[in-house]
Amino acid sequence: MEPSITTTRSRRLRRISFALALVFACSLPVASLAKQTEEEKAAKEAAAQEKLLQVFVSEPYLELSTGPGRGYPVFHVVEREASVDVLYRRTDWFKVRDEQGVEGWARARDMRRTKLADGSPFFFNLGDRAGFTSHDWELGIGGGDYGGANLINAYGAYSLTDNMAVELTLSQFLGNSSNGYKAELGLIHVIVPEWRVSPILELGTGIVYTEPRATIVLPQDRTDQTAYAGAGVRAYLTRRFFIRADYRWHTIFTSRDDNQELEEWKVVIACFF
């Protein structure tokens, strides 16, 4: 048995090339067919260079299901020492293709027990407590209160270290006197990333767009710069989920004489990956 990394056309590129071919077929006259085949050839060559990961089954067998979920039936097994090509991953399932070309979904838990061609274990991140401590991305949605107005917000964060992350928050607030949107860029400092529940500190800046409610006569819409300092907690829930609650103290640099100060609190349900 010769372990190797096989090269196969990727599905996505195939899809793109199919879409391209369709567009070409519809929009171009038949005379341009020669050009089209050249482009297809180039796309094929590019796809051929993309490599798929090959792993070897080291347990007695590897079960393949018909779908990426625990309820879907097992329809095929790959024997020990046989190899599978990893096509892609969706949540905690891997779409794989065996040596006979049978494609199916293998559980991440089972894939953890396979080996690479050099005999080393196949390592990838699982959504667990270790991942909560150390991960790259966070994504969350939530709601709260922003100076008395209802707040809806979504955020994304990228971790620079286990302790420090850069976050972008987009929010809309809906109040009795005014509505508006805000976008903020800031830093999160996780004080003890190893803990299940850890305090966090926040610092950032952004812009806030405010429009007065139609029923109240006020100065016209305005866009101001804002800065905030905040504190909160994040707590691991299960799998890839955690909850985050925080308080932010905002200073809005208005064009009027005084800066406006606002309090914000919110609760966010988030995931990491």
Partner: protein
């Protein structure tokens, strides 16, 4: 007599000399004992060892210097995002039912849960009051535009398969949705709570067809008093995993 004694003595001396010389050559009778070496300084010992290593390369049966196969692990494609668009009907309370267009993006966190962000637009019809009252217009054309978005958490709760004939099986599933969002209607923005359910069929692993119903609830004071309005959206959409 004297000469015989001398001869005997000389023979004895000669044999002793030769015999002892031979013994010293053969290390007898200490030939089995290890040779006692004179104590060396550490520097000398080190220098000798180095010299020994340099000139003696013993032949090896198994060569352990096999080139290790380097495996470069290709990045595995994660297909947790799902994007798509659809159209359907929006029943706006008091304003009748009209068509709606919506776009959505989903992120699948686990096999059970996903996040969804969606945005849509519809145009409100006429209230019964306007229809019966003749020339009365409650809202201008622009104000009738009903634009909404929501951020939801979804739960896949009945995964399954649908069978089309004998040969074709497609994965499917029901899901529940709940979230918050906002609607812009009649010149005002309102906070909405959305609750709904959907059914998803996947003809292939990367394409999904959704049929979903969501109730978007918000407080409205448009017709005098503030009341809770329920606005039902029925949507047929297609999404692609990437």
């Amino acid at each position: 007599m004297e000469s015989r004694n001398r001869l005997l003595l000389l023979t004895l001396v000669l044999s002793t000399t030769l015999g002892l010389g031979g013994c010293s050559l053969l290390h007898w009778p200490f030939h089995k004992k290890p040779k006692v070496e004179a104590p060396q300084t550490e520097d000398q010992a080190a220098a000798e060892e180095e010299a020994e290593d340099a000139d003696s390369t013993p032949p090896r049966v198994i060569d352990p210097n096999v080139a290790r196969r380097k495996i470069k692990v290709p990045k595995i494609d994660n297909e947790n995002w799902e994007i798509g668009a659809g159209m359907g009907f929006m029943t706006i309370e008091d304003f009748g039912t009209s068509s709606t267009y919506a776009a959505q993006i989903n992120y699948h966190v686990t096999e059970d849960f996903f996040f969804r962000a969606d945005i849509g637009q519809s145009t409100a019809g006429r209230t019964s009051f306007e229809t019966l009252g003749g020339n009365i217009e409650l809202l201008t054309g622009d104000e009738r535009r009903f634009t909404y978005y929501s951020l939801s958490l979804g739960y896949n709760f009945l995964p399954g398969e649908v069978f089309l004939g004998r040969k074709l099986a497609m994965n499917s599933g029901f899901y529940l949705l709940g979230g918050i969002g906002s609607v812009k209607f009649a010149g005002d923005n309102r906070l909405t709570i959305n609750l709904g359910a959907g059914y998803r069929v996947l003809p292939t692993d990367w394409l999904a067809i959704h049929l979903g119903v969501q109730d978007r609830v918000f407080d409205s004071d448009l017709l005098g008093e503030t009341k809770v309005t329920n606005n039902i959206e029925t949507l047929l959409s297609a999404t692609v995993f990437f």
